[in-house]
Amino acid sequence: MAQRLPGVDVLLVGFGWTGAIMAQELTAAGHDVLAIERGSWRETSTDFAPSFIQDELRYRYHGHLFEQTAQETLTFRNTPDQTALPMRRLGSFLPGTGVGGSILHWNGQAFRFLPYDFEIRRQTAARYGEAMIPPDMTLQDWGVTYDELEPHYTRWEELCGISGQTGNLKGQKQAGGNPFEGPRSKPYPTPPMKQTYGPMLFGEAAASLKLHPFPCPSGNMSQAYTNPLGVSMAPCTYCGFCEKFGCGNYSKASAQTTILPVLMQRKNFTLRTECEVTRINLDGSGAHATGVTYVDAHGNEFEQPAELVIVCAYILHNVHLLMASGIGTRYDPATGQGTLGKNYCYQLTPSVDVFFDDKLLNPFVGAGALGMIVDDWNGDNFDHAGLGFIHGGYIGGYMTTGRPIETELLPEGTPKWGAKWKQAFVKNYLTSMSLSLMGSVMPNKANYLDLDPTYRDVYGRPLMRMTYDFKQNELKLQDFAMGKMVDIANAMKPREIKKSPRGPHYDIAPYQSTHNTGGAIMGVNRRESVVNRYLQHWDVPNLFVVGASAFPHNSGYNPTGTVSALALWAATAIRDQYLKHPGPLVQS
């Protein structure tokens, strides 16, 4: 029997990055906020200090900062005719757990989506005709425009001190930046990072091909920075332990380095850790959330009433929690009816490895967002007529790390183990790098999330089931982009190159990216989406669902910037509209 606790005004499910944003915005406006987080308290000097964080085995391979599958997982299959099996070990993606969530272990690649992304259906049809969109591609506009999100992208960049080279300031192109980006109201708060040898060679090669290379916008600080909340971040030291690690010297943007120092001083904020929300409770009408049920580490169950529930967990858990709570109608690929679980997308990340004889690249001098980028084949930045796919992705020449268990670039034909493997590894370790595509993934009728009929989690709830594969749009995009990557790689004048495509089928075992999106998507009407343009649930107006779960498709960029901008956009609507007049913010 759950113990019933005193009610609260605003309850956040999960205290990662979007939870921190919500808590900061709402407590600053004077509202009382309670956040419930399944993991534990974590801070820089005690939990990821430079005295022990450089431990590839513990953090990368044993996933010390990640969610463990024993705690939560899902089942997976490529197509609806297969039997889904549990993801027993983490692989393809690495969700976080604990205070600060997944942004604690991100690389810091800090992009905005293109204006095209938010109106993708309308603009694609307008330029190429409706026939360009295949019948199985469930493409839709987001219900929010780039111009509406722009101030929130800017606020996010200022909060995080993003380092970068502005490419388009209020419509004016700026030399050295990304000429394809949407117009910015302000330049980046800090200048771009310094480039090491490898990215510099990539940039020179791209420029020689008349492309438009620019430094990756970075959540690793190029210099000391104090954000508008008064919280300071330090200059990045290029240590090469960003992604999969917490930053030990306060130089990577995260909840810990940008928001928590201020938030944790506010008396109207309370954080309850080591408690997992298992269900959102509705009243008899089914149209009003009464709060949540959660279980503490000892297995005790509590009912926490709340006036407003904001779900801020990782995207997969946002969707699973809605399903486990029976909120909304689950998507059925056979009929196309229902919305919950629809438009699950991921990221397409093929690469080309480049091997030099004479150039010492020192890959261990790296940072998560240290790299040069070309955006020439992203979004609708180029003519897709006759190509057989829409959208695209950026190509990056990054130098993020030289961690030796993970960084194994070997030329074509190298044996997998033994003396020749060893020789090739030693010979190429300091003189090789990878070019990679951050490829978009378009929604497809047969890619979706629902509940597994067989496997259960530790609370007895059905696991979520993921049905996902690369479709024609992704495979054609990959072929096209591979050719472009090979051109740039060859222009770097290496000894040799090696192509590493993905697919043809998506494989859940090798790490690719933690860029899962969709499943509780936003949109203009309740027929096609789970939440409205303010991330408010269509059926339950006092429930908001924040995160990449709202993306109707995944763009050719890392998602964190857009996750953040949407969270700030939703927080603004909650603060300025919803809390003043509770009820639906969009009439359906």
């Binding site: 534990s40 308290w41 000097s45 939990d47 990821f48 200090a49 430079p50 005295s51 022990f52 450089q54 590839e56 391979y61 044993h62 996933g63 463990q68 599958t69 024993a70 705690q71 997982t73 997976f76 490529n78 889904a84 099996l85 993801m87 027993r88 692989g91 310094k194 040898y197 240590c239 332990f241 938030l263 944790m264 001083q265 506010r266 008396k267 904020f269 309370t270 954080l271 309850r272 850790t273 080591e274 503490d296 580490a297 297995g299 010492l360 261990f364 001098v365 030796p404 268990i405 183990w417 033994g418 003396a419 493997w421 060893k422 020789q423 030693v426 370790y429 496997y455 530790v458 859940i508």
Partner: protein
Amino acid sequence: MTLGANTAAAREIKGGVDDPWLPHQADAPVPLENPGFAFFTPAEAAFVQSATERLIPEDDLGPGAKACGVALFIDHQLAGAYGRAGNWYMQGPWAKGEKTQGFQSRMTPADLYRAAIKAIDEHTMSAQGGKLFADLPVEAQDAMLSDLEGGKVDLGGADAKTFFQMLWQNTKEGMFSDPIYGGNKDMAGWKMLGFPGARYNYLDWVDRHGERYDQPPVGIRGRPAWNGAG
């Protein structure tokens, strides 16, 4: 089933009131303290010593897996949470699945090593004139490893490919992880590659394009110079 390895009691932190920071706290790693085998039988240890040395053999470039303590590293991994699959979803039902569905063994790593080594030694005993794997000539060991890699050996309950992949992954981990875990002895794996280890500051090297890095590797527990040596 428990809620995972890292949970403690539920905790409430009040903004502006509670300060969770405490002195002399560090989520520090647990190093290997006892340099003896904790999991393997002598026969299993002999198998792992010889097999991992074939995967990363000693040569002109530097020591191999044996000299770097890879077997000891794997032993202690198997004796700990990793060996028990303590963090993995291990509920049935079990199926082999598609290649794209990832690891589906119902055996924990410790179970898999134990069963696979026994089956491999039995196999070589019967097929290779009464010899254990560790006693075979290196060419025969290489051939056996290739067969395991290709899934061409029937190991009874254990899946040969799954075992080979795990052995190879653990070998690389033992060769290149921090020496506190028993492998990468004297940071020899890192020295061979030119990886400087658990450093945290390359600010003065960002601009030095194409230059050879001049500092020796350092582990989490330091390097000889920390005690005034070298």
